[in-house]
Symmetry: C2
Subunit: 442 residues, 2 copies
Amino acid sequence: MSACAFSLTEAAEHIREGRLTSVELVQDCLARVDEVEPAVQAWAFLDRDHALRQARDLDERRAHGNPTGPLHGVPVGIKDIFDTSDYPTELGSPLWAGRTPRRDAAAVARLRAAGAVIMGKTVTTEYAYFHPGKTRNPHDPERTPGGSSSGSAAAVAAHMVPAAIGSQTNGSVIRPAAFCGVVGFKPTHGLIPRTGALLLSRTLDHVGVFGRTVADVALMAEVMAGHDDEDLDTRPMARPPLAAVAASEPPLPPRFAFVRSPVWDEYAEPATREAFAELVEALGDQISQVDLGESFGAVIDWQKKIMEVEMAYNLHRDYEKGGEQLSDPLRKLIERGRGISAVDYLAAVGGIAPLTQNIDSIFEEYDAIVTPAAPGEAPRGLSATGNPIFSTLWTYLGTPAVTLPIMRSEAGLPLGVQLVGRRHNDARLLRTARWLVNNVEG
Amino acid sequence: MSACAFSLTEAAEHIREGRLTSVELVQDCLARVDEVEPAVQAWAFLDRDHALRQARDLDERRAHGNPTGPLHGVPVGIKDIFDTSDYPTELGSPLWAGRTPRRDAAAVARLRAAGAVIMGKTVTTEYAYFHPGKTRNPHDPERTPGGSSSGSAAAVAAHMVPAAIGSQTNGSVIRPAAFCGVVGFKPTHGLIPRTGALLLSRTLDHVGVFGRTVADVALMAEVMAGHDDEDLDTRPMARPPLAAVAASEPPLPPRFAFVRSPVWDEYAEPATREAFAELVEALGDQISQVDLGESFGAVIDWQKKIMEVEMAYNLHRDYEKGGEQLSDPLRKLIERGRGISAVDYLAAVGGIAPLTQNIDSIFEEYDAIVTPAAPGEAPRGLSATGNPIFSTLWTYLGTPAVTLPIMRSEAGLPLGVQLVGRRHNDARLLRTARWLVNNVEG
C-alpha cells in the first residue's frame, strides 16, 4: 500500500514509531498528485520543493530527539481562504491575485505547531461563495466536487493528502465531503478560531476539516481547537479531547433521531430517500423519526439574511473596487445585503438562541440527529457546486455536524449521512459517528 | 445616628454582629421615607408591611441559627424595570400598568439570596429612556435627579435605603448618581446578568448599583455578579472578589489618566472645568492628561445607532400596540431605528473591539481614567433628566465606570468624578476609587 493511502492517524503513528519518514510520505503524496491532479485540479498552489523542505526539516528535528507534535511530518491541505506565510492566499478571486500574507491564520499556525507539513493551498470557489473554481469530482470528472471547499474535499478523496481544512458559512464543508465521499466535520461554532481566514460572516463562519476516517477529523479538529483572543466567538475553556473520546466506545448503544428537516419534502432526491429508508431499517429500534416544529420554517430565510448582510458588510471594499472582477452572483448578494434593515437582521439572528434550546431537548433523548448531507449524489456539470440546503439549519444553529461516506447511489456515487450533535458536545458526536461507521458501513 | 444613615456595609455588619435587627433598620428607613418621600418621590411601589414581613423573617432565621448572606436584613431599592415576584413591574409606562411578573430578575434573586430585604421599586423614566418620572433631586426639588434610574439614585441620596440597583444603556447610572451626590457603579458589560430586566439593547444594557460608599457598591455588585445561562453576555468564570479588593490598599500610589474625552470642548460646563482643574492640581504628578485619538470621534453616533436599532427591535410590540401611551420621543427613536440599515448597524457595533484595544493600552500605564460624570451639576427643571454624553463612550465600550461624589459646584450641588477601568478589571477600578475618595475628598 502506498503511504499516501494511509489515514492521517496511521501516517502520524508510522512516523512517530520510525517506520516511515515525512520525506517518504510527502514524496508518495506528490507522486499521487502527479498522477491524479491533471484530472482533479484540487490545488491552487503547491510547491513540491517547499513541501519536501518542510518534511526534511521535520525528519531532522525528530532525528535530533526534539519533541514532536501529534501531526509530526504529515502533509495537509489548506483551503485558499486561510492566510499562509509561505504560500499566496487568493480567496478564489482575481481581485486578490498574488496576495501574500505575512502571518499564518490561527488554524494554520496550530497545524504547523502540531508538526504538520503545509502541502499547499486548495481550490476554493470565489470568496468561498458559489462561483466555482477548476476542481472536478474525483469520482467523475463531469461532476462538481461541491463547494466552497472544493479542493480540500477532492484532494483528500483522491489520496493526495490524508486531511485538509475548509470553511462553512452555509454548506461548504458537509456538501463537498458528501459529494467526494470523505468524512467532513464542522465543529461547534467558535471551537476553532477563524483568525486570519477570510471573514464572510462572524455569525455563520465555521472552520471545518476533511479526512478519510472519523479518527482523522477528530485529531485535526482537536489540534486547531481552543481560545484565540482575536476571535471573539472562541471561549476561554480547555480544549476538548476529541481524538480520545472519538476512539472510545459509547457506554450504551447510541440512539439516533432521524430528522428529515423542513426541506426534505421539496429537496430530497430519490437516491437519498432510498438510502435513508435502508439506514433506518438497519438501525432498527435505535432510530426514531423526530419532526422539528414549525418554528424552524423561517431558518432558511434567516440564514440567507444573515449571510447577505454580513457579507455585504465585510466585503464592502472588495465590492467598491472589484467591479467586473467580482462574479455577478456575488455582486447581487452584496446588493441584497445592503438593502436589509437592521431590525430584520436582528430578528434573523434572534432566532438562534430559542431554536438552539429547542434542538437541545432532542439530545436529552438521542445521541445524534441523522439527516442527509445533501439532496443527493454530486450533480453533473461544473458550472455550479450543488445545493447546501441540508446544511443550512445546522450552520445557522452552530451545532457540530459530521458527514459520513457510508452510502452510495445506484450509480455508485457517494451519498453522505450527516450526523448532528449538541453545541459544545463535539466529542460525543464523533464517538457516535465512529460507532455508526463501524456498525452499518457497507 | 439613625440606622437609616448607616452605609450598607455598616448596616450588614451591625445585623451580623447582633447589634441591630433587620426590623429596627427597616423601621428606621420607613420613618425616613415618611419624612422625605413627599418631596423626593423616589418610589414607584413600596409596601411597608411587606418590607417589615421580610425583615421579621430574616431576623427569625438568624435567631434560629440559620446561615446568613452578606446582605442579611438590609433593605435595598430596585429600579422598576427589574422583574420582582412580589411587587408590580411597570417599566415607567402606562402601557404596563399593573404588570405582575411571576419570577424575580436574576439580579433581584441574587440580592434576595444574599439576605437583602426588597424594600420596593424605584421610579424609572419611561422604558429607562428619556421621558421623566415623578422623582425630584433630594438636594433641590426644582432640579432633576437625572435618569433613567432616577428613583434609585434619589432614594440612596436621601437615606431611604443604603443601596439600590439601576441600569445603564447610555448614562442612566452614572448621571443620576452624580446629580444626586452618591456613588454609582456600572460594572463591565456582562458582569451582572440582565435576565428578567427590561431588554432595550443587548449590546449596551448594563446593570448598575447605587450606594453611599465605594465599599457598598462593591458589595452590591459582587453579590449580583456571575454567569447566568439566560444572559449570553455573561461569562462562565469565577465571581471577582470585588469587596475584598476594593477594601485593600493599592500596592503603589495609583496613577490617573485625565481624559477630557471628545465631548469636553462642547459640553463641559464652567463648574466642571473648575472642579477638574482643582482635582488635577491636587493629584500632582499622579495624574497626566491623555488625549484619545480621532478614531473616537464616531462613537456618539455609533452608540446612538445601536441604541435606536436594538430598541426598535426589542420594543417592536410595544410600539405596535402602544399608540398614544408611548411618549413622542420614544416613538420617534423607534422609527429612527427602523430606518437604519443592517450594514450601518454592523459598522457601529464593529467599532467596539478596535477601540477597546486602543483604550486598553492606557491601562498599561494608568490605574484609572478620570473624566467628568456629566456636563455639570443637576440642571434645573423636571421635564428632562440631563445629558448622558459623558457616559456614552464607556457604555459603548462596556468598560467598568464609577462616579464619586467628591466635588461640589459653587451652588453647593454635587459634581461627579467618573473613574473608568479596564474591561473585566472591576476590582482594581474600585480599589483605585476608594483610594481617591480617601485621599482627595473635601
